[in-house]
C-alpha cells in the first residue's frame, strides 16, 4: 500500500484553473447552502421558495453573502462559498433552466456561444490543465 500525502494531494487541486474541487473544506463551508439547495427537491419547498425567496433563505443558517448570491444566481460566487454543482442544480431546476445553460453563466460566454462551443467539440484542455506549468 503506497501512502498518499494528503497535503500534497489537496494542494494540487488549487493548480487547476477555473475549477473548485469539492474538498472537505468546501463541503464544511457550504454545508447549509447545499442543504438549502437540496430542500428544493420537494415540490412544496419549491413553491414556498418561489413565493418569497428571501423569506425562505432566512430559514437557513447561511451567510448574508451567500443569500445574496443565491438571489442573484451568481453560481461562481456560490462555488466560492462551498456550493456544490449537483446541489446547486436543484436551483436550476427550480428556475426551469437547462443544466448546460446554468453552467454557461459560470464561463465568460453567453449561453448561445457556450452551446456552440459544445457543438464544436467542447473546450480544449490546452492551456487550462495547470496554472503553474502553463499547459
Amino acid at each position: 500500500m503506497t501512502h498518499t500525502d494528503i497535503h500534497a494531494y489537496l494542494a494540487e487541486f488549487e493548480d487547476i484553473p477555473g475549477t473548485r474541487v469539492f474538498t472537505a473544506k468546501r463541503a464544511r463551508q457550504g454545508y447549509h447552502l447545499n442543504q438549502f439547495a437540496m430542500s428544493l427537491m420537494k415540490p412544496e419547498n419549491r413553491e414556498r421558495f418561489k413565493a418569497d425567496e428571501r423569506a425562505y433563505l432566512d430559514e437557513w443558517a447561511i451567510s448574508e453573502e451567500a443569500k445574496l448570491a443565491v438571489l442573484a444566481r451568481d453560481y461562481n460566487a456560490l462555488l466560492d462559498m462551498g456550493g456544490n454543482i449537483y446541489f446547486l442544480s436543484k436551483l436550476f431546476s427550480t428556475d426551469g433552466i437547462a443544466f448546460a445553460e446554468a453552467v454557461s453563466t459560470m464561463t465568460n460566454m453567453s449561453w448561445p456561444e457556450y452551446r456552440q462551443m459544445m457543438l464544436d467539440g467542447g473546450r480544449s484542455p490546452e492551456g487550462v490543465r495547470s496554472i503553474r506549468e502553463g499547459r
Partner: protein, 279 residues
C-alpha cells in the same frame, strides 16, 4: 455457480434520459449517440443477464450532505426512480436481488471492504439512464439490479487502485454464490466533462480514447491513474470514470472488446460506451 459474464461501461448523462423519455432518440442531435447503443441493445436481448451490478453515483438525490458513504451496496427489494426536480422519470421501478446483494455485501466486508448497506432509497439518472440506454423502452426492466453507489462528489473519492480492487473482490463474491446466475457488471459516468467554473465545457477526446484503450488492454495499468490526472485532463466531473475501474477490475486481467462507441457532445459531456468480456 454465479458468474460475471460481461462488463459494460457507459456515460449516464441525464439529458439522455430526457431524450429517451421524449422520443428524441433518432433526431439529428441524439441520433449519433443512440446509434452507438443499437449493437448493445441487440446483444443484451441475447445475453439476458439475471443480475446487473450497476456501479453509479448519486447526484444529491438519495444522499445529501448528511451521509456520504464511499462505497454503498443496495440490498433492498426494489427502488423507485428519484424525483430530481421535475418529477420522477416514467420508467419502471428497479427490482433488486437481495439474496445476491447481501451475499456480496457480507463477502466484501470479510474481504476487508467495509461497505455501507442500503435497504431503501430512490435511484436517480446515474442508475436509470444506463438501463434505458442498454434496454430501451420496457414495461419492466429485463433484469434485476444491484445498485453500487460510489462517492465521487465530496473529495477524496476512492482511488482508481481501490476501485479496481473492489471489482476483483466483487468477482470473488459472485463466484462463491451457489445459485447459477448470469451476472453483468456495469461501470457508469464520465467521460470528460466539467460542469462548473470558468473551465466548464472541457472535453478531451484524446485522453478519453486512451482511457478506453487502457480498459481494453490485458493489464491493470489504468488503475494507477491518479485523481489529479482525471481532473486536469477530463474536467472536474471526469473523475466519475474511476467507477469504470470497478467494472474492469471484476473482469480479470485479460479481456476481449465486443463493442466501443464515443461521441461528443451530449449537453456538457463526452459520451463513451464499451462492452468487454473476460477472456
Amino acid at each position: 455457480m454465479a458468474r460475471i459474464t460481461a462488463g459494460v461501461g457507459s456515460s449516464h448523462v441525464p439529458l439522455l434520459g430526457v431524450a429517451h423519455d421524449q422520443g428524441k432518440e433518432r433526431d439529428d442531435y441524439f441520433g449519433p449517440i443512440f446509434a452507438g447503443y443499437d449493437w448493445t441493445r441487440e446483444w443484451e436481448k441475447q445475453e439476458k443477464p439475471d443480475v446487473v451490478i450497476l456501479v453509479y453515483n448519486d447526484h444529491a438525490s438519495a444522499f445529501d450532505m448528511k451521509f456520504i458513504p464511499t462505497f454503498a451496496i443496495g440490498c433492498g427489494e426494489r427502488y423507485a426512480p428519484a424525483d430530481e426536480g421535475w418529477g420522477p422519470r416514467k420508467v419502471p421501478d428497479v427490482i433488486g436481488h437481495p439474496d445476491l446483494a447481501w451475499h456480496i455485501a457480507q463477502s466484501l466486508i470479510l474481504d476487508e471492504f467495509d461497505m455501507t448497506i442500503i435497504n431503501e432509497m430512490d435511484v436517480d439518472h446515474g442508475l436509470t439512464v444506463p438501463l434505458s440506454m442498454m434496454f430501451g423502452k420496457c414495461e419492466a426492466w429485463p433484469t434485476t439490479v444491484i445498485p453500487l453507489a460510489v462517492n465521487v462528489v465530496t473529495y477524496p473519492p476512492p482511488s482508481g487502485k481501490r476501485c479496481w480492487a473492489l471489482g476483483e473482490a466483487i468477482a470473488r463474491a459472485v463466484e462463491s454464490f451457489p445459485q447459477d446466475l448470469n451476472v453483468q457488471i456495469w461501470g457508469t459516468g464520465g467521460m470528460s466533462h466539467q460542469l462548473q467554473g470558468a473551465r466548464a465545457g472541457l472535453i478531451n477526446p484524446e485522453w478519453d480514447n486512451r482511457f478506453l484503450d487502457l480498459l481494453e488492454a490485458n493489464d491493470d495499468a489504468v488503475r494507477h491513474i491518479p485523481h489529479i490526472e482525471y481532473l486536469r485532463e477530463t474536467g472536474s466531473e471526469g473523475i466519475e470514470m474511476v467507477m469504470w475501474l470497478i467494472m474492469r477490475g471484476a473482469l480479470g486481467q485479460r479481456v476481449k472488446t465486443l463493442h466501443r462507441h464515443y461521441h461528443v457532445p451530449c449537453s456538457n459531456t463526452a459520451i463513451g460506451h464499451i462492452v468487454l468480456v473476460p477472456s
